[in-house]
């Protein structure tokens, strides 16, 4: 009798391994299929829920942009929301009736993405030579400067009111007798699909980038800048390209955000808290890992929009907190929970929930 039980068990494991590999390789297509069909099956996505999921997709795009700088290239970036905001405001300036441009969604998106990439280059060119932690502070300071400027330049940005109304994409464009803009305005599912397609495009682009010459250069600079330079990689140029790429993607997310809300909202939507939440999502999910980043954003947005309101209403129903003490409300613990999550992840699983294999190896090697 040869190969009885051992054979059996390896078979079992290899089958499970294959299933795991299948999920690992094909998760994107499976998720895309489910999300593409969902609006047709779930009527709630035609209402407020659709808007929330659209916002989730937009944050996913933003986080994927941040992941280029923080995950692939290993630089600390604390001002991604500034680029998100610049994207949103340029989109608004180019489309709102208050300004004479009104060039339409697609053209405005292209211009806006180019400008945010340019701003990223302009900020990065002089500062990327700095030490890593100084760069963190420069990006943080830049975020504050942008927020204050957006708030104070009332003639241009509308101050605390923001700019509105941002017309829906395709306003005035008729397809088969239907005004596209009207369709977007009436049914949130149009925005859902727009955001989903954009997200899928960004994910695809990121996967291609990961394996490209540039993507490998990013990772090389993260792992060992000196060694990378010795191999002929210009570290400053590689970092700069990462910075510009991340700014451009954040700008795209900003465009979608302004269009889907039909306003830029007030400048506080683009402050340090937004930057730090997106950073938390990337770190929690897994630096340099696309599925990790998406999962991280989903967890954080899910916490704020699903878990916290649910737990709060549960507490209210059970009448634990009749006097409305903040200590006894679930959402009162939000900051502590996020903070503790960051500390614990950094301590015990610095590679995040869905690690990128290479980064995980690198991080564990660093612990002697």
């Amino acid at each position: 009798m040869k190969n009885q039980d051992p054979q059996h068990s390896t078979d079992f494991f290899s089958r499970r391994d294959r299933a795991y590999e299948f999920v690992r390789e094909r998760w994107d297509m499976m998720a895309l299929a489910v999300l593409a069909v969902a609006p047709l099956c779930v009527p709630a996505l035609g209402g407020a829920l659709g808007g929330q999921v659209t916002t989730l997709f937009i944050y996913c795009i933003l986080a994927l942009g941040l992941n280029v700088v923080v995950g692939y290239t290993g630089l600390v970036h604390l001002g991604i929301a500034a680029f998100f905001g610049i994207g949103a405001y340029i989109m608004a300036i180019l489309t709102v009736p208050m300004y004479p441009f009104q060039i339409g969604f697609l053209a405005a998106t292209i211009v806006s993405v180019l400008i945010t990439a340019g701003v990223g280059l302009a900020l990065g060119a002089p500062t990327l030579r700095l030490r890593g932690d100084y760069l963190a502070i420069v990006t943080l300071g830049f975020g504050e400067v942008v927020k204050v400027t957006l708030r104070n330049l009332e003639q241009i940005t509308g101050g605390m009111k923001g700019l509105n109304p941002v017309p829906p994409p395709g306003a005035g464009v008729k397809v088969a007798g239907i005004d596209l803009g009207l369709a977007f305005a009436i049914d949130p599912r149009w925005f859902y699909y727009l955001a989903l397609v954009s997200l899928a495009g960004v994910v695809l682009a990121m996967r291609r980038l990961e394996d490209s010459r540039l993507g490998r250069a990013w990772v090389a600079v993260r792992e060992d800048e000196l060694a990378a330079s010795a191999m002929g990689i210009s570290a400053t140029r590689v970092k700069l390209s990462a910075f510009a790429m991340s700014s451009a993607v954040a700008g795209l997310a900003g465009c979608l955000y302004a269009a889907s809300l039909s306003t830029t909202a007030d400048p506080n939507a683009y402050d340090f808290n937004r930057s730090i939440m997106v950073l938390c999502a990337v770190i929690l999910g897994g630096l340099g890992s696309i599925p990790g980043t998406l999962l991280g954003v989903t967890i954080l947005v899910g916490f704020d929009t699903v878990l916290a309101p649910w737990a709060d209403s549960l507490i209210q129903q059970m009448n634990i907190n009749p006097s409305g003490l903040i200590l006894l409300s679930f959402s009162g613990w939000r900051l502590a929970i996020f903070g503790l999550a960051l500390v614990l992840v950094m301590r015990f699983r610095p590679e995040g929930l869905v690690p990128s294999r290479r980064l995980a190896a690198e991080l564990h090697e660093a612990h002697p």
Binding site: G141, N152, F272, L279, G332, G339, L342, P350, A366
Partner: protein, 321 residues
């Protein structure tokens, strides 16, 4: 024609008023700057020794201010006589200093110490996490709204001039900050601990090789930085008179800017940087508008980092590989 009678005296008068206004703003700026410098020292010392931007430092000071507020109520200081008030303030500075120092050491032991050999991103992100936790504690402690800190000191002007104001609150800042700074520089320059701190900040391994207990030195650094922050929190409450659970972020950022401006890791640099930032803040609030102050300060920070990353008094160092 130029000698026409009326305008000249008015011009003269307004000029002297504007000059006095300028000096007044400078005085405000320097007093504020002393406060910023005290916080900046906490950043610069920790950075000098372990190379960590301690993001939680601003929020540590917020917690100190919460304790100060609770202590003022508990001790009934708002009703005390002048002598008792000054004694009470001294006690507040001591207690809040001890509280913040101990808390800082505890956080170092629990959070940063296990990450000493990890990549630099790890302690930085952990510090952001700690700052969130501190903010949440502050939220539970004093609530989400800003709280007014009682005025304990009389607002009488101490200068003979009417137009130049320097009152007891300003004096308080000076008499708390100056001795603390002198004490600190004495400690760093003239004691064994100070020598050990300087050694650790130059080279941890070499310091350990010559028998310095590196962990103890790092803990002392956190304690001293925290103690100065605790003292700053009391003065902040008494001087600014408003505290809130979110105050740590912005104040921390100003102080950090000051530390970088002076040259991070350099103690005189932090003091100088604090003074400069205080002046810039006061003057830009007076002449440009308060709402632009934040943008101006951070724009200066970016410009300094680009053109003189080693700061005003720092030494140029290459990033170690």
């Amino acid at each position: 024609m130029l000698r026409s009678v009326a305008p000249l005296p008015i011009l003269h008068k307004s000029q002297s008023v504007s000059v006095q206004f300028f000096f007044q703003q400078c005085l405000i700026g320097l007093t504020n700057g002393a406060l910023i410098a005290l916080v900046a020292l906490g950043y610069t010392m920790v950075y000098g020794v372990i190379g960590l931007i301690n993001f939680a430092h601003g929020d540590l000071i917020m917690l100190g201010a919460c304790l100060a507020l609770s202590l003022v109520a508990a001790l009934g200081l708002s009703m005390a006589g002048p002598a008792a008030t000054w004694m009470g303030i001294a006690l507040l500075v001591l207690l809040c200093g001890l509280f913040c120092g101990t808390l800082n050491v505890a956080v170092d032991r629990l959070v940063y110490k296990p990450l000493r050999t990890a990549p630099k991103l790890a302690p930085l992100v952990s510090a952001i996490g700690v700052s969130f936790i501190f903010m949440n504690i502050g939220l539970f402690w004093i609530g989400s709204a800003d709280r007014s800190f009682p005025e304990l000191l009389p607002s009488a002007n101490l200068l003979p001039s009417d137009s130049l104001q320097f009152n007891w609150k300003d004096l308080l800042v000076v008499i708390v900050v100056v001795p603390l700074m002198l004490g600190l520089s004495l400690l760093v320059r003239a004691t064994r601990l100070g020598k050990a701190m300087r050694a650790v900040s130059q080279d941890q391994t070499a310091a350990a090789l010559v028998g310095i207990d590196v962990d103890r030195v790092i803990a002392s650094t956190f304690f001293i930085g925290g103690f100065l922050g605790g003292a700053a929190s009391v003065i902040y409450g008494l001087y600014i008179n408003t505290i809130g659970f979110q105050m740590g972020f912005q104040n921390g950022l100003y102080a950090f800017t000051a530390a970088v401006l002076g040259g991070i890791g350099s103690i005189p640099g932090a003091v100088l940087g604090g003074m400069v930032i205080g002046l810039v803040r006061a003057l830009s609030s007076a002449y440009v508008g308060e709402r632009w102050t934040g943008a101006i300060v951070f724009a200066i920070l970016i410009v300094i980092l680009v053109f003189r990353p080693e700061g005003l008094l720092g030494r140029r160092t290459r990033e170690k590989v």
